[in-house]
């Protein structure tokens, strides 16, 4: 048996969140139906591509002359992406970026609880955005007790590999890193790099 996610191509999967963002915007404006052509135009894709993507995740077909029902489509995509399964995450590195993310409330819409941050420096320990900042020593504890699988790494580049190692030891198996450094991790641990400068540079160059 294949799981739901392997049923769609990687390319499609990477567009689904964008559809979701777009559809929520339309829903917010009170739009009830959208056609694949309209989505395509607004999002800069081809209509055929949109139809094909939606066919894979939509629980019911689009209506000729109307298109797809926005509300249902949002539900279907969210269900498909698993935003209903809840996951706990922690932040390692409570500098400016770490604290900003700790205060960000947008994660809850995606099935993610960011429960705490951790930092080496005693000066950083405390709280931000109503959530606790603990000393690094407590990382293993919290990870085990709250069954945390994911870590957001917001430490300076020089501290990244060491912090990464500590997170892995603590039991984390997926890392979203903001440090612009390649991390070496054991087999089975996933790393995703979120490089702000690269994103920006791509935008400039393209």
């Amino acid at each position: 048996m294949v799981n739901a996610e392997s049923a769609v191509s990687r390319a499609t999967a990477s567009r689904l969140p964008a559809y979701l963002r777009y559809l929520k915007g339309e829903a917010g404006k009170g739009v009830e139906y959208v056609s694949s052509a309209a989505i395509a135009k607004d999002m800069g894709l081809s209509a055929v591509c949109v139809r094909k993507d939606l066919a894979l995740v939509s629980s019911r077909p689009g209506k000729p002359r109307f298109g797809f029902e926005v509300r249902l489509l949002i539900e279907d995509i969210e269900k498909f992406l698993g935003y209903h399964r809840w996951t706990n995450a922690v932040i390692v590195g409570a500098g400016g970026l770490g604290r900003a993310i700790l205060s960000y409330e947008g994660f809850e819409n995606y099935g993610i609880h960011v429960i705490a941050a951790f930092d080496n420096s005693p000066a950083k320990v405390g709280a931000a955005g109503g959530k606790p900042i603990y000393p690094m020593e407590r990382l293993g504890d919290v990870v085990r007790r709250s069954d945390v699988k994911v870590c957001i790494l917001t430490v300076p580049r020089s501290a990244a590999q060491e912090a990464c190692d500590q997170a892995v030891v603590a039991g984390i198996n997926a890392i979203l890193s903001f440090a612009p450094v390649h991390l070496h991790v054991p087999e089975g641990v996933k790393v995703k790099y979120e490089d702000l400068a690269v994103s920006l540079a791509e935008l400039c160059g393209a």
Copy 2:
């Protein structure tokens, strides 16, 4: 005539920054040569894919039995990606995230000067990370005077479209948005979404 960037496939282009990150890591460890097989192994790609990518951007061929010279490869990729052409950028939205990014120094390695932030709220005006935070009214001014083309949007979702419009009016033609909202922009303005929650969710689900 085609420009340099259109000479490589989109897929390759999206891997180049990752090679760069990896190569810089190796360079930092004192490694002088790397083989495509080694890169592939560490980065989770196929060796053939790596060779093909590098062949497109490397100014000189790899040496049999050694591989590629790390230092040269870094230079070639940076040159290829245009990290030598400088671009000015501004931040719109000086909340926690905006200020954190304003203080981030990693942009300079990518040919990007983040010169200032802007905010509606008078309380936010001032400075962070040694860079000024101006009231929104001054956006047009600064954009024109410093020939700013790119804007990082870090305002709350409810303010995003309006701030985006202001940026466009001011003369911005590329936006990196952290607000989880689809933005409507005129033809010719590029938008890229940096959705932290989506990145994290992809990591959890995959």
